[in-house]
Amino acid sequence: MTRRTYVIALAISVLATGCGAKATAPAPSLQVGGDYDVLKTEASNTCGPVGGSISTPASVTHQAGATTFAIVDHGTRSLPGQVARNGTMTMDVVRSTVMGTIAASDTFTNGRFTASGFDLTVTTDLADNPNRPGTGSGPCRIVTTWRGAKLGSPNVIPE
């Protein structure tokens, strides 16, 4: 092997070694923040007729990679929660008063962020029926599904 041939062979060897090494790409971080178009649809309603739906805007505040987020619901409330890297979310129960006197709570289940938005089930339990307040008709429940469509860039769900 001439000296020139040796140098070329060495260079090929080095290149081959370099090409063969696997580059470790940084793992994508969870990103679910942004604006959403949320379609809320009644799935069941023991307080009155079922079947209503409404579209409302919402935004999600979330720092890339963080496990906490908040859905800023249309209007006046911010709903905090935790989100896993696979997009599943959990949220705290929110208590409120309906019509000034009826105790109510919203329980959030089946929550999951996806690349295109999020899905969520909200169960609203009311201590008295707001359709017939003060009549002793007792508690009732409204179950609502939320389908949030992400506006702008899709969410990033790492797992």
Binding site: D37, P49, S55, D73, S96, G100, T124
Partner: protein, 276 residues
């Protein structure tokens, strides 16, 4: 002296009012029906599967002091609570504070209120019409102080009587008829005369919130005791008006003794058929 007196009072206008005071009572609970329409959505719309028109029912409560120009509409879960501050003007019209959403002009009626909100979601504009039905009672729209005059049945409850303590807090009735009275306005206020069961005219003025004052009155009791009536807490409301009357006597009309005082709470109910 009867501790509880029931009497009839008539208020009548003397001349047409140049401006009706915007005194309304709309506080209460409401059922709110939403009808939403989506328009203007283009291909980039995030939720093309959303229906063009939706219906939704929620519930709310309006906080409002009778006659006040500001109110709060709280719309409840499950749609997502809203808390809207609004300013009320004449004949039930109201405007939601701009920071609480893009609402058009709203209006209260006897049965509820109507208002529309415009919300942009992506490329879409959602027009959401709120049609609210008063749940617990009817609204009162218009002035609580009757422009054209009205008759009232007045219950007087003696809450304090230092002249004859046995009379205080007991109950009896003494209905008496009244003759006419009149309301006259001045450029700075709304003067009126309240005819008290036909025996005397009480002169006063009312503000736009329905609060009123009456000039104090002096009289002679048993032709020898100087008595002064002072009036406070006058307020027209949905039913009629309330008033507190303190009568101070220079001498006790029942027995030997010095000055004494009688405090009486008036609660007036507007009679059906009275002009408003």
């Amino acid at each position: 002296m009867s501790p509880l007196l029931l009497s009839l009072i008539i208020l009548t206008t003397q001349q047409p009012a140049p401006a009706r005071p915007a005194v309304m009572a709309v506080a209460g609970t409401y059922q709110i029906d939403h009808t939403s329409r989506r328009t203007g959505c283009d291909a980039s719309s995030a939720a093309p599967s959303s229906p063009a028109q939706t219906h939704w029912r929620t519930f709310g409560v309006v906080s409002h002091a009778p006659g006040a120009t500001h109110l709060v509409i709280e719309s409840a879960t499950p749609a997502g609570p809203r808390n809207l501050a609004a300013r009320l003007s004449g004949d039930g019209a109201f405007a939601v504070r701009p920071g609480d959403g893009e609402f058009g002009p709203g209006r209260f009626s006897v049965g509820g209120f109507e208002v529309s909100e415009s919300t942009r979601i992506g490329s879409c504009v959602v027009e959401d019409h709120w049609s609210a039905t008063r749940h617990d009672a009817a609204n009162t729209i218009g002035p609580l102080l009757p422009d054209g005059g009205a008759s009232f049945l007045v219950t007087r409850h003696v809450t304090e009587d230092t002249c004859d303590p046995a009379h205080a807090m007991s109950a009896s009735a003494n209905p008496r008829a009244a003759t006419g009275a009149s309301i006259a306005r001045t450029p700075t206020g709304q003067r009126f005369v309240l005819n008290d069961h036909g025996t005397r005219n009480l002169f006063g003025s009312v503000d736009e919130q329905g609060r009123f004052t009456l000039d104090s009155q002096t009289s002679l009791v048993m032709d020898r005791i100087q008595a002064t009536d002072t009036f406070s807490g006058g307020q027209f409301n949905e039913q009629g008006f309330v008033l507190l009357v303190v009568t101070t006597l220079d001498a006790n009309p029942y027995r030997e003794g010095g000055a004494c005082r009688i405090t009486t709470r008036w609660r007036a109910t507007r009679l059906e058929g009275g002009a408003r």
